[in-house]
């Protein structure tokens, strides 16, 4: 398959990008608003072409454990779900992190808590970035704002997951999952052979050849001294990721008097608010964290020296704002605007909220 320009939903783009990346296995369970990922994969039948395994599991719990299993075999494996389903996966995600295994998990967020709503939300920020399961671990969290990024972050997510032997998450929402846009799908690359996997992942479970000792993937260690050393090793990896993998995008920050911080599809809505604000002479800039973990503390800190105030806009009651406040260390006022329960504010609402929080900006 060559590079191809298509119009498709974000969810569909993830499925097509997975096939083209050479993913070995997808294990999922239906839940709105992300079922198109599994549906597209089943319709495309990649087992006939690339040999990719696609399986509708009996539950989200089974699906994430299948991912743990595939990752233990050194395979490129992934799952996807939406908020309630991702809650169910948390134990398995903790095991994948503890097993130092590469894997990709997609969360197309919907409003919670509980069964909540099927409509868009960003209320799983804490769960994704602060370790949703038990124990001291992190996921690399990528927040796409376009259908193109939905496709691109499959590649980026797997590349980072294998580079650091740690799970990565695409934290999307119902908007970017359900909307259609132009997407340039990359040319397909072949799945890795068993020999390549054995070379790249000498720790992988393959069946033990006579030439090596048994490989065991376990997350149990009853020797506390050893368990502390394991934890220290995880933390060293996270530290390297924090040094190397922070990603963000700036929009009109050069001359900005104020700053909006927003991620995912909310950042695009805010871009339009900023365009409208500038027509009224209010100079707002935007910083969009692309990696929510590691978070761009330094970039926000630097911008905070140049602006008078920050508005954090999220589809939740105030989650990323805690990281923004940590970044600016009390330097300047940081306010929050969010809608809850699946309601998405339009650009004008965001601008009104900005004007309410910063009445001096209009002067």
């Amino acid at each position: 398959m060559k590079e191809e320009v298509r119009l498709m939903k974000g969810n569909e783009a993830i499925a097509h990008a997975a096939i083209r990346y050479g993913v070995d296995g997808y294990f999922g369970y239906p839940i709105t608003p992300q079922s198109e990922i599994l549906e597209t994969l089943e319709a495309e039948m990649p087992w006939e072409t690339t040999g990719m395994v696609v399986l509708q599991a009996e539950s989200e719990v089974a699906a994430i454990n299948m991912v743990y299993a595939g990752a233990a075999c050194g395979k490129a494996v992934m799952t996807s779900s939406s908020s309630p389903g991702v809650s169910l996966k948390q134990e398995g995600i903790s095991y994948i992190a503890a097993g130092e295994l590469p894997a990709l998990i997609v969360n197309v967020m919907r409003g919670g808590p509980g069964l909540g709503t099927i409509h868009p939300s960003q209320a799983d920020y804490f769960q994704a970035t602060k370790g949703g399961g038990h124990g001291d671990y992190h996921l690399i969290v990528l927040a796409p704002s376009t259908v193109q990024e939905m496709a691109d972050f499959v590649t980026l997510g797997f590349d980072l997951a294998f580079k650091y032997r740690t799970p990565a998450m695409i934290l999307a929402d119902g908007i970017v999952g359900q909307m259609m846009e132009k997407v340039v799908l990359p040319p397909a690359r072949p799945r890795r052979t068993d020999e390549e996997i054995a070379r790249q992942c000498p720790w992988a479970i393959t069946g033990r050849p006579a030439t090596r000792k048994p490989n065991v993937i376990t997350t149990l260690e009853l020797d506390t001294a050893q368990m502390e050393r394991n934890n220290e090793r995880y933390q060293r990896t996270y530290h390297v990721i924090e040094q190397n993998e922070v990603r963000y995008e700036k929009f009109m920050t050069e001359d900005a008097d104020y700053l909006i911080v927003a991620f995912g599809s909310m950042a695009r809505i805010c871009q339009k608010s900023i365009e409208e604000a500038r027509e009224q002479g209010i100079k707002i800039g935007l910083i969009r964290p692309i990696t929510l973990w590691p978070f761009p503390y330094q970039a926000i800190k630097e911008l905070s020296d140049k602006v008078k105030g920050i508005l954090v806009v999220e589809l939740n009651a105030g989650q990323m704002i805690e990281d923004v406040r940590l970044a600016v260390e009390g330097n300047l006022p940081v306010h929050h605007f969010g809608r809850l329960g699946g309601i998405v504010p339009n650009p004008q609402e965001v601008l009104e909220a900005f004007n309410n929080k910063f009445p001096d900006a209009k002067k």
Partner: protein, 256 residues
């Protein structure tokens, strides 16, 4: 015969399988796990499939199975072994994949994964150690605990009105179209051990041949949990466990 003569290779009647390593097992005296571990090591060696065998360890007493048999292992979250085996086998169809699970792991927290893996007819083997109790956590009631049986969470004996009936999961699994071989065995006598060995061997062959799901239940003792000597426990098992969980093949659709 002198010791020197006894240990001559031609006089040897039994040797520890090469794949069973020298680590000291943590199992209690009289426990069935050691015997079943040895059988697995022996069979994998005899079939010449150590480079193709992948084991899935459970949560429970056998959580450390990977410390004793020198093959590749994945340690599963509690109850999830059949889901893990599913993915390993689907992603590596040429491999022989088996789970090793106790009654709590397989028939309580993991019932969903057990039923669905078997119902899909995954080409895996489930080795099921049923001793009617949670051993590792200190002797609590299991789904397979017999009526009236005392455990730390049924200190006056299991009551049907409070705790429901003992779960015959193996008979349940045998009803599923995805299973090709379902059998119940024990390892309390040399004859029983030989039968169990044949059963596991057939199950492993079924996985290699892609015949569907095989489940080998091994009715076992837990002398510590049952608070008996190993000899008493074997006797109690014969008199009580076998009545509820009778030995023999329940289903075999594969021609021998």
């Amino acid at each position: 015969m002198t010791i020197e003569e006894i240990i001559k290779p031609e006089n040897r009647v039994y040797a520890k399988p090469r794949l069973l390593n020298d680590n000291n097992m943590h199992y209690c005296p009289g426990c069935s796990h050691g015997v079943v571990h040895r059988l697995i090591a022996e069979i994998v060696e005899e079939m010449g499939i150590e480079d193709k065998t992948i084991g899935i360890a459970p949560v429970g007493c056998a959580v450390f199975a990977y410390n004793y048999v020198d093959i590749d292992w994945i340690e599963a979250a509690h109850g999830r072994a059949p889901a893990i085996a599913t993915a390993v086998k689907r992603l590596n169809p040429s491999r022989m994949v088996f789970t090793y699970q106790g009654d709590g792991d397989l028939a309580a927290i993991g019932t969903c994964e057990t039923i669905h893996a078997a119902n899909r007819g995954e080409n895996i083997v489930i080795i099921f150690i049923n001793n009617g109790i949670y051993g590792m956590t200190g002797g609590q009631m299991a789904p397979t605990t017999l009526e009236g049986m005392k455990t730390s969470t049924t200190p006056y004996g299991r009551r049907i009105d409070l705790n429901g009936y003992p779960l015959n999961i193996t008979s349940l699994v045998a009803q599923l179209d995805g299973t090709c071989y379902v059998t119940r065995q024990a390892v309390h006598t040399p004859a029983a051990v030989r039968k169990t060995k044949n059963a596991i061997k057939q199950a492993f062959q079924n996985s290699m041949d892609g015949k569907g799901t095989s489940l080998v239940e091994i009715v076992s003792t837990c002398s510590s949990g049952w608070k008996m000597t190993p000899v008493q426990a074997n006797k109690w098992m014969e008199e009580n466990m076998f009545a509820k969980y009778p030995l023999g093949d329940i289903k075999n659709t594969v021609k021998q």
